[in-house]
């Protein structure tokens, strides 16, 4: 892949559903976007406006009726190890210990036991969970399980990470802590991240670029030119506040 070329390319995606009452709903209507390697793109929007649908199409978990998704020039035909996903729902396997959860991706790819456990321990250290490597997920808090999911996805080393409102169920303080963990890992590894959220502050705190999805279309696509890593003060600058007002406007608030 040549430098500057998009690692992820979404072209003219259209996805429609039919509700139980027979009403057709257009979840995505002609969505196109390019994402360069190393970008942290936040997909922002209100509930039911197509953010998760877009992420599922990119993940290969949902087929589009029209359009194409390419990752490193190759068309996406289903889920793959080149795109790690963190779901909104707690997906950490309850029947595996924390260490085995983190090593799962490596296990299904037949990485030797010694090597996969080494990598898993390394990533548990990074998210601060090595002391609980032998614990069962039920023994962990929601924030800790979110960190297990992050460690598991990064341990599998996908070039692209897709996250669907992964911290939505966490309390404010825990959410901020887990956001910091994700941001640190992203900066260390330089992976490309597509992060779905409905929280403007979260998008502005994490993203290098923000895309607002409204009524199944891209309403705004803009780089966030604030210093990284960001503090609340950075977001509260005139430039930050102006961007926040713009994003809220596109989300239909102001």
């Amino acid at each position: 892949m040549n430098p500057g070329e998009p690692i992820l390319s979404v072209r003219d995606i259209r996805v429609g559903f039919v509700r139980a009452d027979g009403t057709p709903v257009l979840a995505l209507d002609g969505v196109s976007l390019d994402v360069s390697s190393g970008e942290f793109v936040c997909i922002l929007g209100r509930s039911g406006h197509g953010k998760t649908t877009l992420l599922n199409v990119v993940a290969g978990l949902l087929n589009a009726q029209r359009g194409e998704v390419r990752v490193m020039h190759l068309p996406v035909t289903g889920p793959g190890t080149d795109r790690g996903v963190i779901f909104q729902q707690d997906a950490v396997f309850p029947w595996m210990r924390v260490l085995d959860n983190v090593a799962f991706g490596l296990r299904v790819r037949n990485v030797s036991r010694q090597e996969r456990l080494r990598i898993a321990r390394e990533h548990l250290t990074l998210v601060g969970l090595l002391p609980v490597a032998r614990a069962w997920p039920r023994e962990l808090s929601g924030g800790m399980r979110a960190r297990v999911a992050i460690a598991a996805v990064f341990a599998n080393n996908p070039p692209i990470l897709l996250a669907d409102e992964p911290f939505g169920a966490l309390d404010y303080v825990t959410r901020r802590q887990v956001q910091a963990v994700l941001r640190d890992l992203w900066r260390r590894t330089g992976k490309t991240v597509l992060f779905v959220t409905h929280d403007v502050d979260e998008a502005m705190m994490l993203g290098t670029r923000v895309i607002v999805v409204s009524n199944g279309r891209i309403a705004e696509d803009r780089a966030i030119e604030l210093p990284m890593p960001r503090s609340d003060d950075d977001v509260a600058t005139p430039a930050g506040l102006a961007l926040k007002h713009l994003l809220l406007h596109h989300m239909g608030l102001e």
Binding site: G80, R83, Q89, D90, F93, F104, G105, V108, R138, S141
Partner: protein, 289 residues
């Protein structure tokens, strides 16, 4: 790529974990709770025997005897009971007859259960198979044992295979339903997550579907086991070469109340013991649940 720890302040969530990570409450409290639970169990058993004793003291001996008399009959006839020989059961005692019943229950449950689990899980995933299996299971499940048992006796004769087949059939029917529901109850997010890690159908079956269904399947096995005991004894009463059901039939003909109660007690005790073994297995296999 080399990683270093992010360092930073101590994790506020870790101390909470350490308190909980010892697999439950502190050791002393856990033992205390177990002791209380055991006392409740003993109290329940004692209450049962007390009610039995009081009832026996109020009724004529031809209707009900005390637990002590039933126990004495059990002890006397456990290894050899001459009165059973009269009914063509040979030189047997309650113990050997129970062993026959136990082995039939075990073989029937294992074979029927295994078939039921496989069909149940597969039908949860394959719609075509489900469309075919569901009505068959529904029809088989509604056939009363009073109809099925004589038919099986006519078809296969008075041989152990008849009882095993009966237990296996009903166990399979029950386990199809339990396993199908267990597989359908596994949260789809686990499979979706596994797919994003590159897990194919086989890996998802091994790492997601099987472990995810184990607790519910073992729960279903416990219910099926309890039913299997009843089925087996009933099938033996209707016609079998051996078994505790045959002893019950013979003792009913003799109007031997202590012997009948002794047989009921050993069947009940064995059923409870096998259920406890299943619970122990469940705790070992589904330690995470």
């Amino acid at each position: 790529m080399t990683f270093r720890s992010t360092g930073g302040p101590p994790d506020p969530e870790l101390p909470r974990f350490r308190m909980r990570a010892g697999n439950g409450p502190p050791k002393g409290l856990g033992m205390q709770q177990k002791l209380v639970d055991a006392l409740y169990t003993v109290a329940g058993i004692a209450l049962f025997f007390a009610v039995w004793w009081i009832a026996a003291s109020q009724l004529p001996r031809s209707r009900l005897v005390t637990p002590l008399e039933a126990g004495r009959d059990l002890w006397t006839n456990f290894f050899y009971s001459p009165r059973l020989g009269v009914f063509g059961l040979g030189k047997v005692g309650y113990g050997s007859l129970l062993l026959y019943t136990l082995s039939n229950v075990f073989i029937g449950l294992v074979t029927g259960g295994a078939i039921g689990i496989l069909i149940g899980i597969a039908s949860a995933r394959l719609k075509l198979l489900r469309i075919f299996v569901d009505p068959v299971v529904l029809v088989l499940g509604t056939v009363p044992i009073l109809v099925a048992a004589p038919l099986f006796l006519l078809w296969f004769g008075v041989v152990p295979f008849t009882q095993v087949l009966l237990v296996a059939l009903y166990s399979a029917v029950m386990m199809v339903l339990f396993s199908q529901r267990a597989a359908q109850n596994v949260n789809p997010v686990y499979e979706r997550w596994a797919m994003t890690f590159g897990a194919g159908t086989g890996a998802r079956m091994r790492h997601i579907l099987i472990p995810g269904t184990v607790p519910e399947i073992i729960g279903g096995l416990r219910i099926t086991l309890a039913s299997a005991w009843g089925l087996e004894v009933f099938a033996e009463i209707l016609g079998a070469p051996s078994g505790i059901g045959q002893a019950i039939k013979a003792l009913t003909n003799l109007s031997n109340v202590p012997g009948l109660l002794a047989c009921v007690v050993i069947v009940a005790v064995t059923a409870i013991v096998t259920d406890i073994l299943l619970v122990v297995l469940m705790r070992r296999v589904a330690i995470w649940a």
